[in-house]
Symmetry: C2
Subunit: 522 residues, 2 copies
């Protein structure tokens, strides 16, 4: 923490640093309270005179591309996570930079996964100074233990777009790993041996970065169609043997929960949407790829079919269950930010009603509206929720930072936000007095659905009224909490932290909603 | 002309003003000689807090939308020309602004047509100060007669993108006329009663303008798919009865020349491409929608079929002849900037291999390359050409400014640039000693094909060599010129101008390549 930084309380009463990685911060002010000023980030004007007239931007190696981009100490290198735990590009780029002698880089992935664990070694050696981006697993643990030189900055998908667009994060070199590309740099994610579907998380990087490198294992002659990333934003193209392990890029299949408790949550959430009238002709919803969310989709689909109701659109992360809805006429469109399984990849490649979206269209809060607030209902998860309906998706009750935000924060503006969570995990209650980390404020969370009952936020009297005659187990959240504590042996132990902030959680408008502190060693 | 402005000679020896409409200019320096600096135009950061959460941006009228955009004197109002001579939106906007009392507006259309002639009255009344944009017909004549208060600025399609992107023209209010739109502002040009195909000419406006208004006569529920223009860039949506006269928006059919002379030009150009080896497996070409260009496409198609050759892509303006090539397997893709007839509209709406492009992808010279330089051969027209291969597409030999540039300048970077022109029109020779206006420099023009012979630019010895054994009538340009002057009664009379500049022609890099002077009244 810089000398001039201090901790202040934000509008939620959370202690947040005033300076993060040398940049002054605005503490969270409340939903819709922060008014941005200024203009968008402006990348340099380039000229065709400096690019090959035949459009062939290939260079022989990653090293050559990085050299041509002027790689130097302290640069910001961005990457995207469409290859998930099968990614072979981001680490290779950082290791190449290490070989070239670079130090103190900031790695700015849209998310990191266990496959990126070797970046720990690069941080220990001084090659990478710190990471701003979701840290799933080992890197988050490293950060939580206070070992990263800079602070982690966690942003939602929309918040990452906002930070790039607003010039908060200036990307020096963007790395776009592409399942298909042409020598001009046009890229597509929906075809090729490493197909991952959409490339939307890399779009902001391609538009706003100073330099853009495309890395592909499937070069096709110009033009690569569709061009999810436009070659007109690309400086260099590098061919490699493999951009990723296809078996880890997408699941062959996505798996519905088999737990009877979780099945019950899913069924009751679907029933709630039906009974309160949200499930109506032309409605829309979003659900993720977790076991409960998938089960919810199958229950809701059955109810829609029975009632003869069609959605106008459903939002992905797409899975075979959403694709089935599209193909059997239960929805006009899938608006898809991320493709989770092979059925999703096939559909987005072939069906014009399965439309790739980006964090700009769907989630950017500093735009002229976005899709998220137009969705009628969204079903999400959480690691913890509290009696004020605040929720945490980043840390566990032991305080360890183990998950990214994804689109979670951005989705909270939907018409009805439902957190579908088991009431306890590993005998640790999920409903607590106060969440370890506030990822999303309770005023935006309408329903917490557990296997022991459904808690509706008292702010949503309209929902309570609409469900007055329903046979759903609607209960006060405190009551469910007490019941769970009863058989778990009380509330979970509070995590023990030092006073050293190791990461901040950004709200969708770029303000700081909470801080992750270093966990105390046992 | 401002007091501090003077005329200087540019690299082609043309006299150009140093200041245009109060803005300092760079004289043309030669092909690829101007090096841009600085950063792209940065529109203001907005926030979802200030836009309706349900995504419904409709307002009751154009007047209300203009008011909400803060319409005031001196603003820059942009529009696009996809509705061509059937447009009903641009004029209505300017007339609404007039009723609201606005003065001294700059109208910034991507092109104007005879249907916009009433803008003359608005200029006479002081509502519109001047026009920057292509002026086809009456408005160009008005400008040529020195009646416009400001100077006309003519830019190519790519030059218009460059000027907006580089911040040379700051659009206050962009008007997007859309054949289909949703209440969020997503727009599509390929469906609806006024379908025009692509909306690419409006893309820069939507991205960079301070305020964006969508006007549509075909509102659909969100989401409007495809979204050629993204609602996330749109402020207001206005519904009107009709955005245009469909019969004038696209031709029902495009018509091939019936003139035997022009047919011969078309056939010989096709033969030239075949004989010199440009027509080879995987090649590409672009041709416009003029009578000669269309005939060229049919001749070339026949030769390709005979030789068993397939193009990788053809560039539109699309017509039924390009669509036939796509549908009969003579090309993998149409990359289409503009849709000229109903077959083109149907194809771009239905066939994923018929891909809409924008001036950004195709023509912007201040990008990281563009498509134009990757095209193997392009067939264009001209009003005049000279013995140095310079060409004019803007003025006639009488000096009147009657045409825009379109993509013409941008296309000159193709591998082989062919101007297919009759050697005379109305008994006035087309080949002259020096063109009235230089729209494109001779060093970029490789071939001038007339019915009396084909002149190849001596700079292209490679082409001359490749065609050494051909039976094509390859002749020096001076020889063709002399022959035509012989039966036309000498060279055309030189136009007579005053010393007052009334418009400038911008080169693709934003420098001034030539000036149009006021014509002397008889």
């Amino acid at each position: 923490m810089k000398k001039d930084a201090k901790l202040v309380k934000n509008a939620l009463g959370r202690r947040v640093p005033t300076v993060v990685n040398g940049i002054e911060q605005t503490p969270y002010k409340g939903v819709g309270r922060f008014e941005p000023t200024g203009r968008k980030q402006a990348p340099p004007v380039r000229s065709c005179r400096d690019y090959p007239a035949d459009g062939d931007k290939r260079v022989a190696s990653l090293e050559e591309a990085l050299k041509k981009c002027g790689l130097r100490d302290g640069m910001v290198i961005s990457s995207h996570h469409h290859f998930r735990n099968g990614d072979r590009v981001a680490l290779r780029v950082l290791e190449t930079a290490a070989k070239m002698g670079a130090k103190d880089l900031m790695w700015f992935p849209s998310a990191s996964f266990p496959c990126h664990e070797p970046v720990i070694e690069l941080m220990d050696k001084g090659v990478v100074h710190h990471i701003e981006g979701s840290m799933n697993g080992p890197l988050g643990r490293y950060c939580s233990h206070g070992k990263m030189r800079g602070m982690g900055v966690l942003r939602s998908h929309g918040g990452r777009w906002q930070a790039i667009q607003d010039g908060e994060v200036k990307i020096d070199i963007a790395i776009i790993a592409a399942p298909t590309a042409d020598p001009f740099g046009n890229c597509d994610g929906s075809h090729g041996p490493s197909a991952c579907g959409s490339l939307g998380f890399a779009l902001a990087d391609s538009i706003y970065a100073e330099n853009v490198i495309v890395v592909t294992d499937n070069l096709v002659p110009f033009p690569c169609i569709p061009w999810q990333i436009q070659g007109n934003n690309v400086d260099y193209v590098v061919e490699v043997d493999s951009v990723g392990d296809p078996s880890k890029i997408v699941s062959g299949t996505t798996v519905i929960t088999r737990s009877p408790d979780r099945q019950r949550i899913a069924r009751q959430v679907a029933q709630m949407l039906r009974d309160c009238g949200i499930m109506r002709e032309g409605f829309s919803f979003q659900a993720g790829a977790g076991g409960i969310a998938l089960a919810f989709v199958t229950y809701l689909s059955a109810m829609m079919r029975e009632a003869g109701i069609k959605a106008r659109f459903v939002r992905g992360g797409s899975t075979k269950y959403l694709v089935e809805m599209l193909e059997t006429g239960l929805t006009d469109y899938i608006l898809d930010g991320q493709t989770f399984d092979l059925d999703g990849v096939r559909s987005i490649a072939e069906d014009p009603r399965h439309v790739p979206t980006s964090p700009f269209t769907s989630y950017n809060f500093h735009g002229k509206g976005n899709f998220a607030s137009m969705v009628d209902a969204v079903v999400l998860g959480a690691t913890e929720v509290d009696v004020d309906f605040n929720a945490n998706v980043n840390t566990h009750s032991d305080g360890l930072l183990l998950h990214g935000i994804g689109g979670w924060q951005n989705c909270l503006t939907a018409g009805c936000t439902i957190l579908a969570v088991p009431s306890f995990r590993d005998r640790i209650p999920v409903i607590v007095d106060q969440v370890t980390t506030v990822t999303g404020p309770g005023e935006l969370i309408d329903v917490i659905a557990t296997e022991r009952g459904i808690a509706i936020n008292p702010r949503r009297q309209d929902l309570l009224d609409a469900l007055a005659g329903s046979d759903l187990p609607i209960r006060p959240i405190e009551e469910i909490k007490a019941e769970v504590e009863g058989f778990c042996g009380g509330p979970p132990q509070r995590a023990r932290f030092t006073d050293k902030p190791v990461a901040v959680i950004k709200w969708v408008d770029g303000t700081v909603i909470d801080t992750v502190f270093q966990v105390e060693e046992d």
